[in-house]
Amino acid sequence: MNKYTPDTGALETVSPDTSNTKIWLSTAAALIVAGLILVTLILPAEFNRDPLGVGQMLGLMGLSESSTRAIETVRKEDSGFHEDTVSFQLLPFEFVEYKYQMNQDSAVLYSWTTTDTVSYDFHGEPVDGPEGYAESFSIGKAKQESGAFTAPFTGIHGWFWENRGTGTVTVTLRTAGFYTETLEFRDGHIKKEVLSDEP
């Protein structure tokens, strides 16, 4: 193990007469200080864990959570504010698509419910995107979904619902937010409605 040869240069350390006690004390001090820093500062600040309660005292708790709230709290809108409630009846294997024309960063609150489970795909198509390109935000099978949506790009954003069951299903969508048009795609037809800017 100890193979120091002169040609590689004996490894210099601190002076060789350093006492064992001094080394032990130094190591213990390093461990204790490291432990204190971890337990009183890093764990509360980074992991929201506070084993000694010192983090609370120092006001460090919650620091690691604020970063997720760094988004804009208030964002003002120019386009009109609209509320919308629509219902669709879907026979077995029927589907419908309902979308809103939205500007980038505009927001909408939505909530839809159905009388029975449907397959759905909440997605958006950018206004300048390639033909048929869509980005999905939420896909699955459910009887309801609610949430807040901020458009990641300008384009049409909305839902595709399909009834894959054996009975008739009614889908009801309620939204409130900032959009300029509604578009309904059903049986190969598009029903488009341009909304006025005044609510």
Binding site: M1, N2, K3, Y4, T8, G9, L11, E12, T13, V14, S15, P16, T18, N20, K22, I23, W24, S26, T27, A29, A30, L31, V33, A34, G35, I37, L38, I42, L43, E46, F47, R49
Partner: protein, 242 residues
């Protein structure tokens, strides 16, 4: 070791101390400006993922940035060269470290080795503490045995390389130009290491001129050991809870 110096007058001592402080402050400022983040930032990752094919300069830049801003690698390098007076020794030890981390960086990426980045970073933190304990003569003095320092720097180099591999794998490289991009990243790592090392060696050289260098050295390595433990604890907490 025979220390030979003329007893300095108090003003000469002061000047020396001032000079040392200047270098220390200058280098710490440099390091703290650079060391704001350790993981490859999201924006950088998004950019690289959007690329098709090989991107030599971006990957070299990311490799260098990771090294220059990675305080775990920097602290370990500081520990390694702390007592190396001769450039020959600096080159030997740094080459062993480079060899070690290059091996595992490449193998790790090529065989898509899946290791937990936080556990690897915990070991990297411990490598800092190990080197500092070695520097205060802990292994030889307290335990009477010490792994050859050259072997240790090579072995810990292997672990540092695994850490680099996990960071590079986070970028989900496309298969077609994997080798080019990985080699570019590795070259960048070595360039960043050279830049950081130059700063460290300059500061250490100034520091050694201080008459009480050996007194400082003991305290500095104790602090280094402490930093290593903090890094290891932080990364292990990440492993547990992040």
């Amino acid at each position: 070791m025979a220390i030979k110096y003329d007893p300095p007058t108090s003003s000469a001592k002061q000047l020396e101390w001032l000079k040392f402080r200047f270098w220390l402050v200058a280098s710490l400022t440099l390091v703290s400006v650079a060391a704001t983040a350790h993981n490859i930032s999201d924006a950088n990752a998004d950019f690289v993922q959007g690329l098709e094919g090989s991107a030599i300069v971006p990957f070299m830049y990311l490799g260098a940035k990771h090294m220059v801003t990675g305080y775990d690698h920097l602290l370990y390098l500081l520990g390694v060269v702390f007592f190396l007076r001769r450039m020959k020794d600096v080159l030997l030890y740094v080459s062993l470290f480079t060899l070690g981390h290059s091996i595992t960086l490449m193998i790790g990426v090529l065989v898509e080795l899946s290791v937990n980045a936080y556990l690897i970073d915990t070991i990297i933190g411990l490598s800092v503490a190990y080197k500092a304990f070695e520097n205060i003569n802990g292994f030889k003095q307290v335990f009477g045995v010490q792994l050859d320092a050259r072997a240790a720097v090579f072995i810990f180099g292997l672990f540092h390389g695994l850490g680099l591999a996990t960071k590079l794998q986070d970028l989900s490289l496309s298969a077609e130009s994997l080798v080019t991009n990985m080699l570019s990243f590795n070259v960048g790592v070595e360039m960043g290491q050279a830049i950081a090392l130059a700063a460290i060696v300059v500061v250490l050289t100034q520091w050694r001129r201080h008459t009480n260098f050996h007194g400082h050295a003991f305290i500095a390595n104790t602090m280094l050991m402490c930093s290593g433990f903090v890094l290891a604890g932080y990364q292990f907490a990440n492993y547990l809870w992040a």
